[in-house]
Point group: C2
Chain length 336, copies 2
């Protein structure tokens, strides 16, 4: 019998939760606005309530003997071993908090539900989700790179999550590729996120070099107000053949490709799964990224280079959080 688990994505805006079957994926799910104002204790109450409700619903259809536990992905610094979450962005007033143990206790005391609880950084959970259920499934080693408001990622080595010694690995957004360049982001010069984070993409398009303002189609799409220009407009225009939009995506892809080349040089990772809202532009980014990746690596490193799209969208974190429980359940089975 396949296991099943609960996967939770704790965000500053919403809490998403789902019942995930090891083979069939998400069976049912629920979303609620995060009661962030209630502080950590309030959020734990909310999490326990949501988890118990969806667990009871699942228990009517599934064998509870195969329940593997509850996995939770959260933003910020997670110490997976100690079960703590520190200073999550968008969750004010949390500090460093014993999220795992508090949730586990609340579930048992208020709802009578005894469960393994695993917590993980959300980018890592998403990478693990793509590894088990998504675009990285065919790869033993890969990096998930998410292109969105920020640029982030998670690393899978030998089908396991690589967290790094203190759990902060995978911050490709803070990789520097233009150390004397003009862009400064979060106080650091020339980082990938400072070059192709969501807001920079529109800025880039509007630069004289890319020339969005000279494009009739882009003028039309943003109603001549370039403060309303969005990556979606750039995607649409590029697909219609607009030169300024095409140039912009080529540039974004090339910058991404330089970052990927550095990962290949340093870690010998040659498979990249690209997710996040901006990655909807697909081949507009992937093609120039792949060309640049080849140009920016030694020929001896070209074997096996691949860039593929992520497949789980914003559900990667839920999938991954649940999948971490399957893994833990299997490990403990092996110990028996």
């Amino acid at each position: 019998m396949p296991s099943w688990a609960l996967g939770i994505d704790l965000g500053g805006t919403n809490i998403k939760i789902a019942v995930v079957d090891e083979l069939k994926g998400i069976l049912f799910e629920d979303t609620q606005p995060t009661d962030a104002a209630a502080g950590p204790e309030g959020v734990v109450r909310q999490l326990a309530f949501m988890a118990d409700a969806i667990y009871q619903r699942a228990a009517e259809a599934l064998d509870t003997g195969f329940f593997a536990g509850i996995g939770l992905g959260a933003p910020g610094a997670v110490d997976a071993e100690k079960g703590t979450l520190s200073y999550p962005p968008n969750l004010p007033g949390w500090g460093r908090y014993d999220l795992r143990d508090q949730l586990q206790m609340r579930l048992e005391q208020a709802h009578g539900l005894r469960s393994v609880v695993i917590i993980e950084n959300d980018a890592n959970a998403a990478a693990y989700g793509e590894a088990i259920f998504g675009g990285g499934n065919a790869f033993r080693d890969f990096m998930l790179v998410t292109l969105g408001t920020g640029v982030g990622g998670g690393i899978i080595l030998d089908r396991k999550l690589y967290r790094g010694p203190s759990g902060t690995a995978g911050e490709i957004g803070f990789m520097i590729i233009d150390f004397e360049g003009e862009s400064v982001h979060a106080g650091i010069r020339g980082t990938i996120e400072g070059l192709i984070g969501k807001e920079r993409i529109v800025e880039l398009a509007c630069s004289p070099e890319m020339g969005a303002s000279r494009s009739p189609r882009l003028n039309e799409l943003c109603s001549r107000d370039f403060s309303h220009l969005s990556p979606r407009h750039l995607e649409q225009a590029a697909k219609e053949g607009d030169a300024a939009a095409l140039r912009t995506w080529e540039r974004i892809g090339a910058i991404l490709g330089v970052g990927l080349a550095n990962i290949t040089a340093l870690m010998d990772i040659r498979k990249f799964v690209i997710g996040g809202g901006i990655s909807a532009a697909g081949e507009l980014i992937f093609k120039p990224a792949m060309m640049q990746l080849h140009r920016s690596t030694l020929p001896s490193m070209h074997d096996g280079l691949e860039i593929v799209p992520a497949r789980l969208g914003n559900k990667a974190g839920i999938y991954g959080a649940a999948a971490l429980c399957f893994n833990a359940a299997q490990s403990s089975n092996r110990d028996d």
Copy 2:
């Protein structure tokens, strides 16, 4: 009783070999010019001859029951699992060669010596040597960065060598930090090796920005012929307070620091052991590198950052190759 092993460093110019005791380090050693003209079979004959000779000498003093094997570090792409060495630079005509099995066979057939043989890339072997016997001994996770003609490195995670999926990990020299810069090295723009490889250091010093030609002391040291200026001269002048030389080392350190910051962001590695001939400049490089490493990383990544000198010089590879045998011997003991 501590184990002992043979460590070999196979270079294009010399073969260095040593008897390494698990606790006492190198007991005795030998060096011979590599008979590169004899091709792979000839070199294997030479390696087997040297290994047997030093083994016989060791066997008079040590208990052969604690002999752990022969470890060999070689330049180029090593497949440690298959035991092959591919296209080693400075060893013409090798192609892809079954070095491990050939050496093992030759040792047994020509010398009656049965031994485990392990081969490893030389930069990886050096990193492992520093991990077990040298500057990385206190660190669970670190990267060895060697500054020399080239810039290379090896990565230790959880006290084990991180080779990467195809064995090419650790190429910090090919990390790009100035993707639109002027320097192009091995066809790639803006790499660390292209910026601070040995030859670039002198070029950098002579740039108008650094101003070596305006320094009386540097003029004196190279007898007014800047084609004879060496990193050693720059080190000496800087230690005497020469402004151009100091500026040059500061710049080199800062560039190194940017590279280290990228390693911290991506892999969460926060300990760096710096070796190679250029690292003799010591604090002249380490101090600006550390300052830049702080400037180029998020405050949340500053905990535990350290830069320390390597301690084994050009013997790191011999130490590491031998140490890989201790490790293998321990693993097989555990299997018994």
